[in-house]
């Protein structure tokens, strides 16, 4: 497909720019937007994220055309990627500061990591173990460390929705996927080559 266009959703949350920069660097057509017209015209949608679950969800509802998004992603099956909190809000519910309703696109909930004696947030380079092979992992070989920044994690209700687990005091979901909807707990845009491989796979294969 020659006319791929990635829409990075702009909803007033942090690192929209760095996601944009890396996609641009990979040679993809990319726009930062929250407009209905742009979302409809795009071939892929990315929801970046920093901050807490509730804050992110509030901003998403305030700044994004929810009806249009649901229609494009859930009804029409347009490839969608949520990053960090952008992945967590895919769940039904989150429990950061207060119980808050998520998008509910992948069944599950978001709770604090039980890292034992390891300090939170979990910040830094960590790897993951692939549970289920998927085209998103294509060409990912030994460079499997990614940059994580989070204190909360996604508990998927259905085992088959988790493609990879990472370990920080306990096993937690690193990559979730249900059909056309992907979620990365780490920041691919900050993960150098390994992150670029995954982002490229998302745009080229998903």
């Amino acid at each position: 497909m020659a006319n791929r266009l990635v829409c990075v959703l702009d909803y007033g949350s942090g690192n929209v720019r760095s996601v944009y920069n890396v996609l641009k660097h990979l040679g993809h057509n990319v726009v930062i937007s929250s407009e209905e017209k742009v979302i409809k015209n795009s071939s892929h949608i990315i929801l970046p994220g920093v901050g807490s679950f509730a804050t992110a969800m509030k901003k998403i509802k305030e700044n994004l055309p929810m009806q249009c998004l649901e229609n494009e992603v859930v009804a029409k099956g347009k490839p969608f990627l949520g990053i960090c909190v952008g992945m967590q809000v895919l769940a039904d519910k989150g429990y950061e500061f207060e119980e808050y309703e998520g998008l509910g696109w992948i069944s599950g909930s978001v709770r604090k990591l039980s890292s034992g004696n390891l300090s939170l947030p979990h910040v830094g380079w960590n790897d993951f173990l692939i549970e289920r092979p998927d085209p998103i992992f294509n060409r990912l070989k030994e460079y499997r460390d990614f940059y994580y920044v989070h204190s909360y994690c996604f508990d998927a209700l259905r085992k088959e929705d988790v493609l990879a687990f990472a370990d920080y005091g306990e096993k937690f979901s690193a990559v979730v996927c249900k059909g056309n909807i992907y979620g990365f707990q780490f920041h691919p845009e900050k993960s150098q080559r390994a992150g670029q491989v995954l982002l490229n796979n998302f745009v080229m294969q998903a």
């Binding site: 760095s18 660097h25 920093v50 830094g124």
Partner: protein
Amino acid sequence: MKKNRLIPIVLLRNGWIVQSKGFSKYQNLGNPVASVKRLSEWASDEIIYLDISTDDRYDLRRDDQGYKNRDNFLDIIRDVSNVTFMPITVGGRVRSLSDIEARLSSGADKVCLNTMAIEDIELVEKAAREFGSQCIVISIDAKETQDGYKVYSHGGKNETKFEPHELAEMVEKSGAGEILINSIDRDGKGTGYDIPLIQMVTESVSIPVIACGGVSEWDHFSEAFEQTRVDAVAAANIFHYVDQSVFLAKKHLFNNGVNVRKPDLIKI
């Protein structure tokens, strides 16, 4: 498993990358964007960018290098984040919440506070609450005195009443996410890390500690991991003088069994 990190520190003075000795002598090393791009290609785990300018004059003095001539620090951060796809920590001249916000929105992932953490511990608390602990790094500059180690503020100029471990405990309690401990005595000396100083800090807190000051050979990095509980090792001068420096240092650590990311050279 989470990896230990190797972090180049880039000192920026009025728009130029400089080498520092004893916090007082500086030598120009070149263009900040070109140099950071190179460090990124050598697969640094992160970059710490410290603005040690003493006034508001930023001038790269030439625009013939393919990079725009920039006259303020935020623009330089923006340029840097366009060419590096890894975490960037930015410090220097951070006085308020709005200073922190300006740096984060220009492309920094973490912001480093030094003097303000000593003068206004509440700012650390407010910043952690507003932006999250993960993006608040406190850098502590310490020097050995007759009464043991003391923390210095204002770029190593003023002695404070704090011992390094006291300040470390205070900022951890206030929500800081990380501590960068730097030895003023070792700065630019190349005699290795001040191991007792680093131990003192790592033993007093549970948040990650980054060691800095004194590295002139790759073995100094492994020493810190062998003898202290540091989460990351940092250095400035050494990374600018050796081709593929970060890659070689990483390879040394990896071969010595330190839990770091596999060394890699990235074609960008």
